[in-house]
Symmetry: C2
Subunit: 133 residues, 2 copies
DNA sequence: CCGCTTCTCCTACAACTGTCGGAGGTATCC
DNA sequence: GGATACCTCCGACAGTTGTAGGAGAAGCGG
């Protein structure tokens, strides 16, 4: 009885990312994308990852033509949420605000992004004030 | 030639977190903290983690009294930065703004936090406008 | 001094992850 | 129809992580 909870390794995540950006892929498609990115892996390595991802329930496959076509079932949005949640709980004591502050302080944003942020914050401010009175 | 880059497992991170919150600790200190948190581990398990963390360079130990005292050398701030960086690069294509937006949209903040955010954004807005003109 | 508690050191082991090779099927191209 | 090119399936292996037990040193209460 050691580990039981399936996680995503970084290499597996890289495969998933290909599926997100390229849509349904065969093993070879994924392999080629990875090669384009400078990531050299053997064909069977990619195949292993895809199989394991399927076992973990993060992708699904269909054999319509000659080869299996794999597609992500775990969406990037879902993974984002889950990763952010565990980041916040593990390193920020569950409080998201310090993370937001850190991000804003340390990252460069474009004017557009700042605009959006501004709008959002104003909105927050508004609702908060409302609900408070 | 498989993996080479040392990472922090979640269990190891939990140990580190104890060190951050409690300061320098012996194996037993850590064990007790974990027990208080409802985390049941054997004494030697904790010891193994501490040893491994030391090998990875994330903690250091001194034997001043009877037992070794372990102290984190990796700060929470540093780890936060590194984790956030890899989160952003792996799941947000390197752009922090969408993460900020996501956080703001999905999290509840206190008035104080909103205040701070507001101030910060205003500041950003300012500098951005300045440097732009 | 003797046993009990506590520490350290070493070893172990199962599950998970990264990485691949070989065996064997099928389609394809002269 | 045999060589060529792919594809799938299965097994393998080393390194990492989670978890712990046993052997042996060292201090403490009686």
């Amino acid at each position: 009885m050691a580990k039981r909870q399936y996680e995503l390794g970084t290499a597996e995540l890289q495969i998933l990312r290909v599926l997100w950006s390229a849509g349904p892929c065969t093993v070879r498609d994924v392999l080629e994308r990875l090669h384009e990115q400078g990531r050299k892996l053997a064909y069977t390595t990619v195949q292993t990852f895809l199989t394991r991802l399927e076992q973990k329930g993060f992708v699904q496959s269909d054999k319509t033509g000659l080869a299996y076509v794999f597609e992500a079932t775990l969406s990037r949005t879902r993974l984002r949420k889950s990763r952010v949640k565990s980041l916040v709980s593990q390193l920020y004591d569950g409080a998201a605000a310090p993370l937001v502050l850190q991000l804003i302080r340390s990252e460069q944003f474009t004017k557009d992004e700042i605009q959006k942020l501004h709008a959002l914050i104003d909105e927050l401010d508004q609702t908060e004030t409302d609900s408070d009175s």
